[in-house]
Amino acid sequence: MAALTEMVVHDSARHPPGKASAGRSAMARQESLAAYLFLSPALLFFGVFLVLPFLFALVLAVSDWSGFDLGTIRWAGLDNFADVLKPDGAFVKPILVNTLLFAFGSVALATAGSLLVASCIDRLRFQGFWRVLYFLPVVATVVAIGNIWKMMYQPAGLINGLLNKLGVNSVGFLSDPHLALPAVTVVHAWASIGGAVLILIAGLKAIDGTYYEAAEVDGANSWQMFWQITLPLLRPSLLFVLITQFIGGLQSFALIIVMTTDGGPVNATNVAAFEMYQQAFKFGAWGTASAMAMVLFVVIFLITLLQLWIARRKGEETS
């Protein structure tokens, strides 16, 4: 203790308290500056490609602009929102309804499918091979996937050929307004299973095997183990999959363009992102397109909050 006191006194004699504090403060400032400078490329990237476009879209949402010349932007107040949200307009129904059905449908199918596939792969040999196999659609381009499925859905395509063999008349999967959206939703779900499978397999691997051993000793069957152990412990991974897939589903439109060209038949597959694209780049109605983008942003934000709230009530968070 005496030695320690001597050291402190000796150190204080060499470095007066005021000077030491100022030195530490200067060093902290320099470190902060260095940290910001290291962060600057990333901040610049986010600023240019995320914050600025968002602010620009916000400005356009309350403006009238037909593109081409930034000098022709005119204040329009909330007119664009009134136009987009009017009850007899097409944006709320069918477009926003289609968007939600497309997103909910593809998330439900993709999550159930990926859960099933991940559970199966987890019990198989050569797991790497199966993971790669199911991940292939994620790597393939949307254009290739969309065109292959489009051919399969044709009246003379593979699926109708099989139906005809079974004595069922051909079905206009992409030409019947009642079937077109489910048909495209199935393809979107199929194409998204691969990514979800990887995440869920990682989640399954993280579950401690002793839980299953204990359940087996207690006489639980496979179904009970799945419901009582696998599913609750997989909830963080499932939540991540649900949120990312849902956001992706709400923003997606490339597949719809490839498979239906114009969001048809009769607006049956028209979704918010596609309508925005049409309004902006085809009709030059940038104000309307930006107002639609803001509405979609709010919808995505609210649904994501709802998902997080439900998950937190159950005591789970995404990792």
């Binding site: 260095a34 009769v266 780049f281």
Partner: protein, 427 residues
Amino acid sequence: MRLTIRATLSIAVGVLALTLPACSSGDSRAGSAGGPVQLTLLSHYGSEPAKGGLDKMISQWNKENPDIQVKSEVVKFDDLLTTLMVRQTGGRGADIVSAYGLWGGQLEKANVLAKVPDDVQKSIKASYSEAAQGAVTTGDTLLGFPTELNTYVLFYNKTILKAAGITNPPATWDELKTDAQKVAKRDANGNVLVEGISLIQDGDNKSVHPFLSLLDSAGGQFLGPDGTAAFDDAKGKAALRLEADLAKAKSTDTSISPTKQFRSGRVAMAIQAGWWVGSLKTQMGGKYSDVGVAPVPGPAAGSKGSLAYGFFMGVNQRSKHQEQAWKFLTWLNEHKTDKGVTGMGQYMADMGLIPPRTADVESLKKSLSDPNLIPIYDAAKYAMPEPNLVGAYEAKTALHKAIMTVLVNEQSPDNALAEAVKGVKPQ
């Protein structure tokens, strides 16, 4: 630590030095003092034979005019409007733009195009067909030199019609209904073996142009001069009822793509644009002799209709070399070839398109080797020019959706047209 900060600062300055120039919108095309003026021409003529033909004319100009050099820039048609918009907004628009007439109102509203000089306007008004001028005029404003002109006609497969005992293509709506029903065939599973008549085409708003051709044959109009809907009158309802009858009789099916299936004998008749002749010749080879072309029939004997849509070449309002750009465009559209027609006229004819100049049409018609081109050329005289006011594109999309509800959902034509009117926003 000081060394670290210095290094960090150097990195940051380096990053900024690399990124900021990329974000700037400098334009290096402007003619430098003393050097030749450099003009850029943005078009969708990127595939053969369109590309080669345009490049040849530009090379000739560049050789004869060392002080004004022109560079061709091409994108796919699907990307043309987006490219125009993005480049113009970023201050990098081309000096000369080739654009679809339907976009004219949008381009004019956004001040993209320079006013056509009076002498050029006078020359165009005196020498170009009414359909060609109408397709590139918004209100009273001529947008530029009319270039590409297409008209709609009825294509038919002679062999299929003959096998059904039909010797001549339909000349009235009633004949069209009867003939289409007679030739349409399906298998036991409901698969279409032969579609009687196709009322759609590939691409944007695919049902509108065939409908507007039928509407024109009944004497109807798409939009009024002020951009309000005119298609919901008795003539429009009659034309859409005809389409509804054809759909109800299963003579037409929107799941069949005529551009893919006409060539294989799965479509008996189709209302399509004249450019299709060139594609069919290439795709069908020796079987092209099966193809016949006739005017789109009207409700009564002797009536016929068509739609004309066009492209134009205009000068960018922001170009620093507008005078030189008009000089080049005037030469491009007026210089004569050895055959006595203009270079542009010959260029269009070589692609199977209608030359927009009346004199070129008359001259080239005398030497047409393909009789199928005659009804296509003739249609330029009576075709309804596609309106291109601001909001016309949106109106066209609303009409397309309405037509599809009739063809696919079997909705009442009158209700469908009333619904489409709501999507028309005159501006």
